[in-house]
């Protein structure tokens, strides 16, 4: 493998990892703050991709899809928290697993009713459609680079909000010691609602940005759900920095696994997970006890 194709694979891996980070950071935030395991997280990734397809087909503008998709996901997140999720706080994990499983069945069937079972593709925005010629035979699509830049910007925004703002302080304090934070007068019913909605938005955002480079199809939620779970297990629950490390590891491992072991590429990430479990059962940046 020469240097250029190595670099291309690395770039692919990083790009994949960055999208994974978007989705998984939403998952890990919801775990960390709400203490709720949300198996329906992948369904919101699929929702984002389908919204991207639907709005782009209606308006012809990918940007409208980006803005509209985020807005719809945010409202859906607020509604779901209000109707279902808030009844799960403090319930055992089993109830959370079952409720989110029921939610998956409902969301998937709604997807079926609204958008059908067909496979769709989404055009990338006009000025991002070209590709950069690297050598005679190799080129790299501009849109993939744009995904990297966009995801890095979102990641930077997440870190800034969590580390530098008052809201971020509440979120960090809530993840650290919920009861003490509540005793200090923080209203968790409000915090929970917005954290859940932001988590949903992050999953949907992942779906929207990958829609132009991958197809939009029923069942796309499942693989993303498993991968973002593996990312959270690798990084440690509730740790956004851990999710970033885990996502990049998985992205790069998957990308190179596909090159070196095409038949067993899906195995590389599980071997990685098994290794981390043997080494640090609570994740790379996880605290000792949950």
């Amino acid at each position: 493998m020469d240097l250029v194709s190595f670099a291309v694979q690395l770039l692919n891996g990083v790009q994949y990892g960055l999208v994974l980070f978007l989705v998984a950071s939403g998952l890990t935030l919801v775990f960390g703050i709400l203490g709720v395991i949300n198996l329906a997280h992948g369904a919101f990734y699929m929702l984002g991709a389908y919204l991207a397809y639907w709005i782009t087909a209606r308006t012809g503008s990918f940007w409208a899809a980006l803005v509209g998709g985020v807005a719809i996901a945010f409202v859906v997140g607020l509604l779901l928290e209000e109707i279902f999720v808030k009844r799960l706080y403090g319930r055992d994990h089993l109830a959370q697993v079952l409720l989110s499983f029921g939610l998956i069945l409902v969301l998937d069937e709604i997807r079926h009713i609204l958008f059908g079972k067909d496979v769709h593709s989404v055009p990338a925005p006009e000025f991002l459609r070209g590709s950069i010629q690297l050598t005679e035979v190799l080129s790299y699509p501009v849109y993939r680079l744009a995904i990297c830049v966009f995801c890095l910007a979102v990641a930077a925004a997440i870190f800034l909000v969590i580390q530098k703002t008052r809201i971020g302080m509440i979120v960090r304090a809530g993840a650290e010691n919920r009861d003490m934070t509540r005793a200090l007068g923080i209203r968790f019913d409000v915090v929970n609602r917005y954290v859940f909605a932001v988590g949903i938005v992050l999953a949907a955002l992942g779906g929207i940005v990958v829609a132009p480079i991958s197809t939009v199809f029923p069942g796309m939620d499942n693989q993303m759900l498993i991968l973002s779970f593996v990312v959270v297990v690798l990084g440690g629950i509730g740790s956004v920095a851990g999710a970033a490390i885990g996502a990049l590891l998985i992205g790069v491992a998957d990308s190179f696994g596909k090159v070196f072991m095409p038949n067993f590429s899906s195995f590389t990430i599980y071997v990685l997970m098994a290794a981390v479990l043997l080494w640090r059962p609570n994740g790379i940046l996880g605290r000792r006890e949950i």
């Binding site: 395991i37 697993v97 779970f229 297990v233 059962p281 949950i290």
Partner: protein, 337 residues
């Protein structure tokens, strides 16, 4: 209390008698449905050993279930029936081995982590059969003949007959129930329950928690494999979806529906859920929407399963809110706290 125990024993005997006699009055379609219910019930009861009694929410039991089915498909010769004496131990053994490896890794974690790790490892097996061409890839593969039950060249049972197949499955389910009851009542079962109720205390009393949980996980995985072997034989077909986590989650719904604190509860849950599915499927194309809503409603309304409904009807005195509704303002007798 004694009268209650006698009643429930009589009900159990009556139920078994009806189950045994079912082939004499039910049509083949319902017989096959009953076999399916028993097999899913066996899977759910196996799962409940770790979920209900061990307190470990596993999302990878479909992987053991499906793996056993795949072992049957892969060890069957192409144009003749496979011998049950070879394929059944191989299938159950493979499921137990997978449970040993996955359990050994997953049981290093707790709570949410355990759920996620079992989910991920279960999906690893799903993607193994989905992505490689081992047995038809994502299309799955057919099993043309049901396994052969014979000694030498003397056939003992003909599993191709729906009636015989049903009786065999019924026998296995009853044997599974007996095994689980023995396990739950044994010192091992008590230690497992202790690890659920208070892990630290059980540990400080000297119980080897990790090994107890691993043993329960392996037994449960092997039973799930037993169920999967016969499920694959019944459908005559295996596909990766059989290992997918949606099957695990469905089994969990059965467990919760039927009640987690009894051995046979999940079987009841399987009967209710599959009956419901059958009904919904016949009435609407979008039955999954309704099923999802019903699951959500049940979780929110009855945290302890539908048994709670029966309990409310049979033992109203155990539910203070109901008692207040039924007998308002009865003064408590002294000493009857």
């Amino acid at each position: 209390m004694a009268r209650g125990a006698l009643t429930s024993r009589l009900v159990a005997v009556a139920l078994v008698a009806v189950a045994v006699a079912l082939p004499f009055f039910a049509a083949t379609y319902y017989l096959q449905l009953a076999s399916k219910v028993l097999l899913m019930g066996l899977l759910a009861m196996a799962l409940n050993l770790v979920v209900g009694f061990g307190g470990l929410v596993s999302l990878c039991h479909a992987a053991f279930f499906g793996l056993a089915g795949y072992v049957l498909a892969l060890t069957s010769p192409p144009y003749e029936a496979a011998s049950i004496w070879i394929t059944l131990p191989a299938a159950v053994g493979a499921a137990a081995l997978a449970a040993l490896v996955i359990g050994a890794l997953s049981l290093r974690t707790r709570g949410i982590y355990f759920i996620m790790v079992t989910l991920a490892f279960g999906e690893m097996l799903f993607f193994f059969f989905h992505d490689t061409r081992v047995a038809g890839g994502s299309d799955g593969t057919f099993i043309y003949f049901k396994p052969l039950v014979a000694i030498g060249s003397l056939p003992l049972l003909d599993l191709e007959k729906a009636r015989t197949f049903y009786w065999v499955v019924l026998g296995l389910t009853l044997a599974g129930i007996a095994l689980l009851v023995v396990i739950v009542r044994s010192p091992f079962g008590h230690a497992l329950a202790a690890s659920r109720v208070n892990e630290r205390r059980a540990r400080s009393l000297g119980f080897p928690i990790y090994r107890i949980r691993l043993a329960a996980f392996v037994i449960s995985g092997a039973l799930a494999g037993l169920s999967g072997y016969f499920a694959a034989a019944q459908f005559g077909y295996v596909a990766p979806q059989m290992l997918g986590w949606h099957v695990s989650a469905t089994a969990l719904v059965m467990v919760v529906l039927g009640g987690m604190r009894t051995v046979t509860g999940p079987l009841l849950g399987a009967a209710i859920l599959m009956g419901l599915e059958e009904f919904l499927r016949a009435s609407t194309e979008h039955w999954k929407l309704l099923e999802g809503l019903i699951i959500i409603g049940l979780v929110l309304a009855f945290p302890d399963g539908v048994r709670q409904l029966f309990d409310m009807a049979l033992k109203p005195h155990a539910f203070p809110a109901l008692r207040r509704m039924r007998r308002p303002a009865v003064p408590r007798e002294a000493g009857n706290a």
